[in-house]
């Protein structure tokens, strides 16, 4: 799967699609094709029989768009928001769970300490694990819905129109 192949002007005789793709264009129905597509433009119905060179060319354009988006501020923002929540949260709940397991196995005396009635520290900690899991689930879903979904959808739309990759099925 060598996607660099299409970017080589020597073999294809076209301008480098890397630079072409870097130019921000307004969306048009067929604006996402490469510069010399006019010579051999075909309908989507026969795209399965596209010559190999052309397919690689399209792949190169697509890769260029993806790399450009990966470097864009909008995408960095989405990624930072996702990682900014998911990574610390994962670190917290995994350590909290491991602490709980290690405590339960190495310090049963402390865990057996009675809190109220039959409730001991171990029971409270176990129920707290359930509670934090529910709480984090709610917080993550809310964060994703309010802070990430819209921006991600915008990016998806941008990419779909610029690569022509999204088909209606």
């Amino acid at each position: 799967m060598d996607e660099h192949g299409g970017a080589d002007p020597g073999t294809l005789g076209v301008d480098s699609p890397w630079q072409q793709a870097a130019v921000v264009r307004r969306w048009e129905p067929e604006a996402d094709t490469d510069p010399d597509a006019g010579a051999e433009r075909e309908s989507p119905a026969v795209s399965a029989t596209v010559p190999r060179a052309r397919r690689e060319d399209e792949a190169a354009v697509r890769s260029a768009v993806y790399r450009e988006v990966q470097d864009s501020a909008a995408f960095r923002e989405v990624r930072a928001r996702y990682r900014g929540f998911a990574f610390p949260a994962a670190a917290v709940f995994v350590s909290w769970y491991l602490l709980y397991v290690v405590m339960a196995t190495t310090a049963p005396g402390l865990m057996a300490h009675q809190v109220a009635g039959q409730l001991n520290v171990a029971m409270v900690a176990g129920l707290a694990q359930f509670a934090t899991t529910f709480l984090l689930t709610w917080a993550y879903a809310r964060h994703a819905r309010l802070r990430r979904d819209r921006a991600a959808l915008d990016l998806r739309w941008t990419l779909a129109t610029r690569t022509g990759q999204e088909r209606v099925r």
């Binding site: 799967m1 993806y66 709940f93 057996a112």
Partner: protein, 566 residues
Amino acid sequence: MTAQWAGQLTGQQMGPRTGVAYLAEGTGDHQGLAIVLFTLFVSVTLAITAWAGRRRSSSVEFFAGGRLFTPAENGFAIAGDYMSAASFLGISGLIALFGYDGLLYSVGFFVAWLVVLMLIAELVRNVGRYTLADVLSARMRHRPVRIAAGTASVTVSILYLVAQMVGAGSLVGLLLGGTGAARTWTVIGVGALMVVYVSFGGMRATTWIQIVKTVLLMGGTIALTVMVLVKFHGNVDGLLRAAVTGSGQGEAFLAPGLKYGGSGTSRLDFISLGLALVLGTAGLPHILSRFYTVPTARSARRSVVWAIGLIGAFYLMTIVLGFGAAAMVGSDTVRASNEAGNTAVPLLAEELGGGSGTTGGAVLFAVVGSVAFATILAVVAGITLASSASVAHDLYATVRRSPRHAARGEAGNPSGQMEEDEVRVARFSAVGIGAVAIALSLLAQDQNIAFLVGLAFAVAASANLPSLLYSLFWRRFTSKGAVWSIYGGLIPALTLVVLSPVTSGEADSLFPGVDFHVFPLENPGLVSIPLGFLAGWLGTLLTREPADEVAFAETEVRSLTGAGAV
């Protein structure tokens, strides 16, 4: 045709008399009612299979059920895939026998879902098509990675399948009087049914069977829990006090240490198990493939939220049931019925209905038995589907595809012919997997099922999770790293199991006669999970050419935005 077939199956189990005749005999004969209920469930599921099987069988239809399930439906199905007999019978049994140490199990099973929710579900939905291997091969060299991931998926699935089918065998042993022949026929019957579900119904039938099963299981669990709480007038403290008395262990019953507190080895063993549980869920192939039945990453996330709600409520209720069984049945009675505690909930149900010998007791016992059976059947179908997808879509398709073909980079766009082939191969491989699982289950009949599941989780966490996380988040991860991390987790995990007391050296080992165990722990997770991560890291460092930046850009952007996702 389907009803007739179901009749034959149950006929084999219960001899010449019909279920209704059993019912008429009245008190004490829970078997007849159990068989009637179970036959009903089998008929409904076979009807679903027949209905789903009438659709045309494209690969999207077969492997992903058309991708148009709603988050709530998929959430119920995920919960159905996850709440296995090991949870329903195994965990509440462990709580009934060992008190708090059984509860530790369920916490691990539950917290694991946060890993799935935050790090896996959405990204995997965006990047892959049907299987775990799709996610890895999105940015890796195709062949070796796919073959490695496919092998690991099939291994995990078969371990998990064996656990479920052993559960089915021991359940029938209890319901039908426990002759060896009944157990054997049940294992074979369950295996045959799951093959029918999967090969004829594909993902659509499997998903609906999961949904029906979740509704039944939740209904049954809620009913029992309410009855236990009513019995104690809503006084949880009173329930716990009665459990302490019923256990015969005193206050130690409510504190950790009864099962895992013995030696340093058994404590370490539990930590190992805990690690495997919390990291393993995210690497289970049949859970991952569920995310492809919904259209977008957002609906994958919402399905997991649904699933977490259902699973959390379920585990909280199994705690009540476990302590309830200790309080009302007594730990010694449970142990006398089944050494591993798997029969605690059916016994509790009998007690709640009025005790052994009463009609109410017989009815509840039968209901719980059938619900557990439905649970096993559904889970088994889900796993079989996932593993046959791996065989067909990862292994077969990769081996068959010629290098010239692969060089065109048509990974995301196989021809129609290829798709048809894959579906056909998946249908047949379901038969093969069924046969292997039946054979292994007959071998492993006396293992505690919760423990067997722990083993499957350890292998999933060691072989699947490291490569999955690296390939989603690590820019420099290479094909070599992926292959190394899969085999670097899979091989140590399996080797350590072979060298552990599970296989040899102890009275309850697989081969009790010989002793070649050199690894002291029953669960390999503590060693094999870090090894999987380490191997992936080393393999990447030792790759001479750098990672494919372009492929990573595409994967990363796609994973977070859904652009280009199918």
